[in-house]
Amino acid sequence: MTSDVLELYQQVILEHNRHPRNFRAIEGGRRAEGHNPLCGDQLTIHVRIDRGIVVDAGFQGSGCAISRASASLMTDRVRGLDVEDAGSLAARFDQLVTSPVGSPVEDLGTLTVFAGVRRFPVRAKCALLAWRTFAAAIDAREETVSTE
């Protein structure tokens, strides 16, 4: 196994893939659909917002380890954030996984494990699907999010 691939599939990611957190619908919350046409991954993000605060987040659907772990870690991380901070975190995560290999990596706590995706441009979309769908949910946008 090469170092690149070990950096991609870190234990945190493998663990969240095996046992995803918040893998559930949220009644009475907002939802948005995400779709990665390249691989057919389909994700529904559920969010409950109360007075500008993300009080609960969950996800459903099927996807690879990267997209499942990303959704799992995200739904844990955004809970308790106000909507503006959550939106800005989504933008910083986007930057983290799409910046060129070798450029500085912002420390986003546990989410920093996804920096390994930068060596796999095709897989960056997998990591981004949950976050882009989440951003649509908090903006209450109607259309399906696509990572193409």
Partner: protein, 427 residues
């Protein structure tokens, strides 16, 4: 006429050496692959994505190059020797392909960009002339998107509809349902010869016979067939047969549409332009006969010439050799993969070509693909442009290993070992 396909003669043994990309050691540093992963350096490339495209033998690469070095001119119009030479090479490829699929005449061989364009050509030209409101076109549940979407486009335009032959759980066509689908409204059956996602070899001869009994023409998508078995369009009896050059050891960007005698001349043109006319005035244009009618504009002359060389190469190896080698490899692959814990092979069709789809418990196909890639094993992961089939199978995606004449037992063993390691990592 010289015979460019010297390599490959005498069967399968050592055939890998004919393919520069496979010969010797995979050197990602040199190739710039993934920033030059040192762990892969010196490992042989295990290429198992042949259903997507095959690698090219040196004779084909050299033929393409030689065309541009020594013969390049436009075809069918120059009065000078070089153009005549280019035209001769281009038309030689047509007669080579004619022999390759046993068409009755070279006029039945139209050069196009690939299978997709061949099907679009028939959908546009034949559909425009023959389809009316209420008519039906029959395809199957295992079709590639390229044998679904062109028909949807023309059906929508003509207010015709698409009917779909279902498959059974093994991945074979339901022929009983097929017969039931054929009615007086059916205008065409368009069916895949070998499924790119399952490997199923469909009983095309029988499918054609059943349609012809009712006077319905049949198009066959042969993209996954021509590299693996001898295709005889007259024996199959089909009206159209489409395939791509790059899946049969030729270059990308060229392909073939075969039309049975008489059928092409009855079709209106596909694209208008130079090379496809007999005479043009602003009042009236008279089209050329097939195949020129369907080859508007300057074709990919070098690509066509190299495609001719590729099929000569394959004929040189011999289909008996190819079939027995691939059959043996497929049996070995089936046994090896079946022994990997948690691995499930998808489908069990009555007859399978050298395509083996599978899923691994607990590991998404894309993760399998990435992990295999990092051991130098190239496979395809995804829906394989067959989303309706994936829905029928209840799968979002599969991993697909597809074989070619240059694959070896070592390739299969490397695949099985890498899949087993991927599963361990995710356990």
């Amino acid at each position: 006429m010289e015979h460019p396909a010297r390599e490959g003669r005498g069967g399968i043994a050592g055939i890998r050496r004919d393919f520069p990309l496979l010969d010797g050691r995979f050197a990602p540093h040199r190739a710039g692959v993934r920033g030059g992963d040192p762990a892969l350096d010196g490992k042989p490339l295990v290429y198992l994505d042949n259903a997507a495209t095959t690698q090219k033998p040196r004779v084909v690469i050299d033929r393409l190059s030689r065309f541009y070095l020594e013969e390049n001119a436009n075809v069918q119009r120059g009065v000078y020797a070089l153009s005549e030479r280019a035209t001769a090479a281009y038309e030689h490829a047509r007669t080579t392909v004619q022999r390759f699929v046993n068409a009755a005449s070279p006029a039945g061989i139209v050069f196009v960009r690939g299978t997709t364009e061949a099907i679009n050509l028939v959908a546009a030209a034949w559909g425009r002339a023959q389809l009316n409101a209420g008519d039906e076109v029959v395809v199957s549940e295992m079709e590639h998107h390229s044998n679904i979407v062109p028909w949807q486009i023309v059906c929508e335009e003509k207010r015709a509809s698409l009917r779909v032959i279902p498959i059974d759980d093994a991945g074979d066509l339901r022929l009983d349902e097929y017969e039931r689908l054929l009615t007086e409204r059916t205008r065409l059956v368009s069916i895949v010869h070998v499924s790119n996602a399952l490997g199923t070899v469909n009983p095309v001869r029988e499918i054609v016979r059943i349609a012809h009994d009712r006077g319905i023409p049949v198009l066959v998508d042969g993209a996954q067939a021509v590299a693996h078995m001898r295709v005889d369009v007259q024996e199959l009896g089909c009206d159209f047969y489409a395939f791509s050059g790059h899946k049969v050891y030729g270059p990308t960007g060229v392909g073939v549409l075969y039309g049975r005698p008489g059928i092409l001349d009855a079709l209106p043109p596909y694209q208008g332009g130079g090379g496809m006319i007999r005479s043009v005035t602003f009042d009236r244009t008279v089209y050329a006969d097939a195949p020129q009618r369907f080859e508007a504009g300057t074709p990919d002359i070098g690509g066509v010439v190299a495609l001719g060389c590729a099929v000569e190469y394959l004929e040189g190896v011999g289909f008996d050799e190819v079939a027995s080698h691939e059959h043996e490899l497929l049996a070995h692959a089936t046994a090896m993969l079946s022994s990997v814990p948690g691995l499930r092979i998808i489908g069990d069709p009555g007859r399978r070509a050298a395509i083996l789809p599978f899923v691994v418990e607990g590991v998404h196909p894309h993760d399998v693909g990435t992990l295999l890639d990092h051991e130098g094993v190239a496979v395809r992961a995804g829906h394989h442009c067959c989303q309706p089939l994936m829905k029928r199978l209840g799968l979002a995606a599969t991993v697909r290993a597809s074989l070619a004449l240059y694959n070896t037992r070592d390739d299969i063993d490397a695949l099985a070992a890498a899949v087993a390691r991927a599963r361990e990592m995710f356990a």
